[in-house]
């Protein structure tokens, strides 16, 4: 485990979830594992906080949920990206890039 972990900036969890689900339907635990993985364990996410975010995204209609069977033959709730969720991902990705670019520029010139 790397010694330095950073807290997730506000609002970025949604983006990470959408990005993860873009690869295909997943259940909550898998999403949490995946997020940890791709962020190379740098980001510290309280696993619990994932679920309220999932429910929120579901309410907004960006992701859909259905019950399915997991690899180990257990009943699990799978989430997948909806059409509007796919669009939302693009929007948020765009916004994120713009933000980071802007911040980088400020940091670079300052």
């Amino acid at each position: 485990m790397p010694a330095q972990r950073i807290d997730l900036p506000q609002g970025t969890l949604d983006l990470l979830i959408l990005r993860t689900l873009a690869l295909g339907p997943q259940h909550g635990w898998a999403i949490s594992e995946r997020v940890q993985q791709i962020s190379s364990d740098v980001l510290r996410i309280q696993q619990g906080s994932l679920y309220p975010a999932l429910h929120r995204l579901q309410r907004r209609g960006w992701i859909k949920a259905r019950w399915g069977t997991s690899d180990n033959n257990r009943r699990a709730k799978y989430y997948e990206l909806s059409k509007s969720g796919r669009q939302q991902l693009e929007v948020e990705k765009d916004a994120w890039e713009k933000l980071t670019a802007a911040v980088a520029q400020v940091l670079g010139t300052a």
Partner: protein
Amino acid sequence: MLDDLLFLLRSLFRRENVESELDDELRFHLEQEVEKYVQSGMTREEAMRQARLAFGGLEQVKEECREARGVHFIETLFQDVRYGLRTLQKTPGFTAVAVLTLALGIGACTAIFSAVNPILFKPLPYPHADRIMMIWYAGDDGSRVPQTFHTYRELTERSHSFETAAVMKPWQPTLSGENQPERLEGQRVSSGYFRTLAVAPVLGRDFQASDDVLNGPKVAILSDGLWRRAFGGDREILGQQIKLDDDNYTVIGVMARSFDNVLSPSAQVWSPLQYDTGNLVTVETREWGHHLSMVARLRAGSSINQARSNLDWIAHHPVSEFPRPAWASLEHGLIANSLQDDVASGVKPALLAVLGAVVLVLLVACVNVTNLLLARGAQRRGEFAVRAALGAGRSRLIQQLITESLLLATVGGALGMLVAQAGVRALVALSPPGLPRVNAITVDGTVFGFALGITALVGVLVGLVPALYASRGDLHLGMQQTSRRTAGSHQLTRRTLVVAEVAITLVLLVSAGLLLRSLQRLFAIDPGFDASHVLTMQVQESGHRFDADRARDQFFTQALEAVRQVPGVSAAAFTSQLPLSGDFESYGVQFESDPRADAEAGLRYAVSSGYFEAMRIPLRRGRLLDERDRAGAAQVVVLSESFAKRKFPDREPVGQRIRIGPDIGHPDRPWATIIGVVGDVKQASLALSDSDAFYTTPTQWSWVDNVQSLVVRVNGDAAALTPAVRNAIWSVDKDQPIVRVATMESLLAKSEAERHFVLILFEAFGLVALLLAASGIYGVLAGSVTERLREIGVRAALGASSRNILTLVVRQGMILTAIGVVIGLAGAAVASHALISLLFGVSRLDPITYFGVIALLATVSGVACWVPAWRAAQVDPSVTLRAE
């Protein structure tokens, strides 16, 4: 949007389902996590611990998920309501006190609002009512003087601001027929009256211009009430004739039941004015008399201010087609107001004062309930601490507490509506005769909405402070047993609230006190006559057989003879106007000693001989009017004392000569000689000194009035003699209506009905506030004693006598009272500004009132302090200290 709604509904109605799905989902996650750790070589126990750590608080996550789903609020609302009801049931005493307090506050506020609403706020019940205006002739002193007919005609001809306009005057015809003759209330109106209000008869037709001409057809429109009562609601009435004052009138229309005639609420019948539109040059005509009210409807698009400047311009630019006599010169212009303002103008200050007072009462009620909730919150700290420990967030606790206070307010508001219903009935019953729109005072939709609004507001208001306190961060303290010793800051809030209560109560009591003193002062005023044992009634002659002055006089003379024969009557007389009855009639007076001056106005009394004796109006100089002073004898008058003193400051008034009323400007008419001077009499009200008056006899005046008031001085109870006196008059002629029967004492009391009405309300509000403030002081001290039992125990153990402890607690309460009084004094000094128009003979800073109120408050709060203090003094240190 629809998806969202479905989601919400599904979550709501399949709550159990959704909850178990959430459980399943989270359990699956944890199991996966445990599995992961076990595979990496941990023991199952250690794995479970790690998984939980990584996950965070399970209940908290669930709560956040519910919140994220969005149903949280509604769902928890149900929960909170159920829970709230349970807790409130558990403390029935607290609940009852809080609910009743709120019911009283909300009920009183709603009742007053329902009375004030139709007068001040609700639009009048006519289309575009905001365009209806009243236009008055401006008097020398800026007062509203009735219009003359020719001024009205000039204005309608020359002004372009109005769509329609009308003039009207009161009319009291006697309806005769098969039944007993009945005097009706009615109006003589110009033909555009109903069109100006934008209403029309529901049956038949409206008046037309052709109805309203000199000697035009005798036609009448009936009110719905009269139509149903006197004519059985018969539709065939149209075109039929009814007998009014011995003349046949053709009924041409019936107004709708819903027609609310704001300008004369009791009018039952209308007939055209039929004034002479020609002949502007002769000035001694009724068409040039100031006795008409004028109403006008603004053209769409023109504003009241435009109309005002237009009227002003006309007033100051006379034209030759419309000559004006001196008394209708429009020298001071015209006064134009919206009908609503005009109707409310007399009572507005009183109503606003009452409204302000009732808001203060509601405020005291709220403060009291807030205090109760704070005390309760202190007792429930343990409960809140447990809930917080179990994962309830601060907002969740606040929501719970606000729900509880809203519940209290809702129940209180529901009861308050009952209080308001009763209050409205009482208000209408008590309402002074001058209160406009009494028939529009009901608990209607607007009032209900108002009650609902203040209930919600009150619910949140009283709940907010206690909720914020109860949910503060140091909840863990609540778990500790010793917390009672540290609970101090909510006591500070409670004390502040009590101080506020005392201050508001003082303001209310001072206002009530000032009004009480004003009324005392007023009733201490000598009206100028002896009101005790005097019965009065108005007698009207009706019918053509009384067209001649001689016949009129004969009837009144014979009636008087008959009345004087009634056993128990010691004196009786007729007068053209009766003091303090609402009569007010003045005529010009010209003095021979001052020939060039304009005529002055004086109240005219045409009185039969014996009037001064019956009223016990004292003679100051000369002699009184008597049997000698009849038509044909030398013209004589009696002046009021002030009038005589003002006109003849250094001369003997008796023997001086004047011309009165219609005789002015006629050198051929004889002068009337002043033969006596009598004491001043209050005519319009006890508060007003309209003391320029002259007395003449009915036969020496230019005509004999056909409506006169009888005053009867009796031995014993005045009211009891009513039937005998009435029968005596009817023994002369049984067809004459007798109305307005009242003892002089009741007229005297009624003349100050408005002040009295306001006083009753203020007394009631002051009393309620005083009780609430006393219970507030009691509650805070009782709470403080309970919390300080240990401290008191220690003091007692260290040797404080029970007297010391008593003093300690009482002083604490009295300090709060004193601070409240000081703040309240400042408040009262400011608030009493609003009462100025209602005060009489007392300064708004009247020290006696202020001291009296302070003494009252101090006494009551002293009693409220004594009870908890006495309890504290009984504390046995060995018991309290052992309990720790």
